[in-house]
Symmetry: C5
């Protein structure tokens, strides 16, 4: 963790990362609830919303779309990822070199580490190379710290998530993206373990507005520094509305009730 | 996917790739129906047909023949491939460096990815290196996206083919070559999932003219941007005829009936 | 072992290394007895104590905190380490390149070797690269020489610890950190086997002051050149007190009784 | 396959390669029938015979002897090879870099590929590196194309040998050395599959003069471009005689009867 | 094998290598019969004896002691070695780069190859890199050629040792160190198989003076070019005496009886 290395993908020290790596990780099935979400252009448009501090995509998507959004979107280059056509011990291919990500204008790199996997050692060494190359290119570093493997039954227990957050600090991430450990207190403990590394909560699957915002608000109160979200935003019919509400909760200290009021207002007004 | 990176191997945004990697993938058995097809010169001659936008061959064949066809054929360097003498979990050797392919004058690279194989992670990382080297050499990138492995029973289901096409986009291919998923609708869905990455249908084994052209026409109508074909062309006695018909269907919006009429005309007239 | 290569992390030829790699090796559970110890700043403050000749931390912790302590703390860059979420045959990821450690101002590198593990050969070769890069950067080399693996039942027997110490010499470490083999005599034998490579005893888990100091004093008398300690210092309420006592025993030839008297005096006076 | 790349190890488009890699592949047992054959000098002397277009040896033998024969022998650097002390799935160590072979004055490289082995992918990639390095150093490329592995029962069937020959072409060999598939027709089919890549027949174990020459003559008539031979020459008492006869059959279109007459003449007269 | 590459570690074409890699290969147990032998300085002193043409040690020992003996001892850098804490299929870690060995002033490299091990292919490729780097640095190459592995029952049979010696020649060693195959005749056969590569016999465990000298004399008569010895020298109370006797047998054509007379004379007189 280097102070300010994540400045280009944060706002007032907090982050709202729009994650769009479902096409590789899960495939088209994730776009079925709202078929338009298969179109990256729609998600890039969403990422221009003021609430969004960074958009996480893979190399091919960035090649095709980022040149048109260079001025309006901060690019978080998700370096590794693997299809779920394959079902072995958790692992992830490094599909993108840091040097090429820098060439395309990326502001930061994103990297998944499956702590506890039989592939943890190899993945950690790949992360090392990526992290140090990011430093050489003045890019921030975000770790998807997701303990997973044959030795891990419940990968969202408070202890596991706190360990995951700490790994972010120890290994040199500026931001650690972790699963929600079930309570604001547990999220706070994870944030405390990560020290100066910012912990952002992973958005998980789609829920209703109030439940989602309350979880996010609780996480922020607990000590999380933001949210990384995908389906919970882009699968909605009016994703701008929820972005406006999230902006209020994360960056403007609004209550959930105040934020919910925004969801009936025009999302366009937020832009 | 980089806009226009595949310009040298497409025509009006569509592709008809003549694939000739059977000698390594299947061995001489594929030439038995028409023994003359073992001779690469015959296939290079075919590739000079106007219908053909690129010829995919391995390194040794390119070394021997491409210098004589440099002006008339666009070379798609098929980088990886493996004999079927070996029968383990799907994998493919990288037999050709991008740098040497560029030196020989190749216009694009071709690379097989067996998504779902236990070797997917390693293959994806080899693809990464090849894709980025292709970018550095201004060459287009074609992925043979062929899900295959112990976790995959039916590798031509619409869901699998749509996922295969999407992997082409996510990982940075300009063109994704996929198996035919059984219907024009399913091919269209695959094309939609690939967004700006062009999806071309794989030609499969030899069928009669009408059945073949109808499948191709349906795929094009569905959204495919062309065809990659091997045996279905070069095993015929008059392969120029079917190339003429394919040209009509793919590039000239001809109906299957109109195209079939060409198969009785002189193929030479097409050149 | 190169004469004087460890000068920056020793004092009069002896070492008291404060080790703080528990966040990666064991996770937050190691901080539970004293939750404040999760905060690296507290440990960096401790490391400014005169008794401490070097602080061993991982890359991310060093990135965040070392710039503020550059003048007052000697940095021992602990290069490898792995979470205990993973439970395979002992192995350790190299999380930090020597070059980047040098860039951050590290004075020496620390590296774990699990002799006897099925991964011994690979780890030894990683150590080779790190050791030679340390030489090129004028940094000292400390080996955590910890025999461990399926072939090793009791990894603190005198024979095993003597072998561990000898491996430090043979492979080129300036300092070998080994477990306490149970008696001052066995520690002395280990030190004799390491020849000019300094052997420091690993602090182990927390015990009471007298027992701890007597073990350390015995080890020093036996021939050990110091101590590497973590929990036994930082988990205490007044860690400065025990550091003062250790300083007396290790560097000032004080008896245990004399040193224990210091534990009631102000640790601040030692600074 | 690059036209003329093998000019230094062929004569009128044909090759008689003297292979002397038995010391590594089989060990001293291969020298027992004629103990003098253990002495490389004797084989280098033989290789000065006009009939021999290249001598294939390993690195250590070349280092010791080739400087004295530089003017009179064309060196085929056999890059890989492995002892038969080891009995796992077929594999071969790369014992010699192309760069060092070039430095020693080698005219071409030789490389074994065990198609069908579980190690085929790795071996093919090692061949790629060697082949491209040979191109960069203007050296010819000879593949020992020997299908072998757990999936292959009969490795000299016509289909397997034809596939082996084709792999030589596809992967970029100038010459493919294959086992004799049992008949001149099968050898001709293999040669046809290899196209411009020259197919040479592997000499096999020692037989009587007429049988040997008839097999060679048949292979040449079938389409083979020569012979690679070891024991069948150097284990004889008067190896120059059989070299003279082979020269007649391979390069001078002599009948077997005519060639056999030479075996009673002085071999010295051939030099 | 390059003529004269081993000049710095031989005398009149013969070698007496003092090997001192027991600390890594076997651990302190090898020093127990004579505890002073744990001290490398004692062995470096021994190596200044005129009889000794080279001293083989690991990197860490060389770093610490060789600078003081640079003028009086020829350094044979033993590059690989592994503890016997590990008990898998024979393998050996490369603990020392050739470049760093050259920087420390080494005259030659030593490298163990376990022919017949499942790791033979990998070890041979590591040997290749080391051997060629040695050539680039004008250093001699000594192979510890020790067939060992699951396929090998009796690793000192004449056939196995002859094969081991031949591997030294084939792979490019200047000197091959092999186990004693049981008789002078078998040693001679091994030497003959190695051709210009010098074969030296490995000293084995400690025996009485006459038996040891007779074995050595027989080996030399048989064709061996010297001896590599460790425990059989340094475990003795007066190791200089036996060195004097070995010098007489190996370099001065003395009979065993003549040599034995020297063992009662002052070894100091030999210096």
């Amino acid at each position: 963790m280097l102070p300010d290395a994540d400045a280009a993908i944060t706002r007032d020290g907090k982050a709202l990362i729009l994650a769009y790596d479902h096409g590789i990780e899960h495939g088209p099935v994730d776009f079925e609830p709202n078929p338009e979400t298969a179109d990256p252009e729609r998600v890039f448009d969403l990422a221009t919303h003021d609430a969004v501090t960074a958009l996480a995509v893979g190399k091919g998507v960035a090649e095709a779309y980022y040149p048109s959004y260079d001025d309006d979107v901060s690019l978080l280059a998700k370096l590794n990822g693997t299809s779920n056509l394959w079902m072995g011990e958790p692992d992830s291919a490094v599909n993108w070199s840091v040097e090429y990500a820098a060439e395309l204008g990326a502001d930061a790199i994103g990297f998944t580490l499956y702590g506890g996997s039989n592939n943890e050692v190899e993945m950690a060494e790949e992360f090392r190379d990526a992290q140090e190359a990011a430093r050489a290119n003045d890019m921030g570093v975000v770790m998807w710290s997701y303990p997973r493997g044959q030795g891990l039954k419940n990968d969202t227990s408070p202890d596991t998530i706190a360990y995951a957050a700490r790994l972010g600090l120890e290994l040199g991430a500026d931001i650690a993206k972790v699963k929600y450990p079930g309570s604001p207190e547990a999220m706070g403990e994870a944030a405390r373990m990560a020290g100066p590394t910012k912990v952002v909560m992973s958005g998980g699957s789609k829920t209703d507005d109030r439940a989602f915002l309350e979880t996010v608000a609780g996480a922020i109160d607990g000590g999380a520094k933001g949210l990384a979200v995908g389906r919970n935003v882009f699968q909605r019919e009016n994703p701008e509305e929820i972005l406006g509400a999230l902006e209020a909760v994360i960056f403007e200290e609004a209550s959930v009730d105040e934020a919910l009021e925004l969801t009936s207002a025009s999302a366009v007004a937020d832009d």
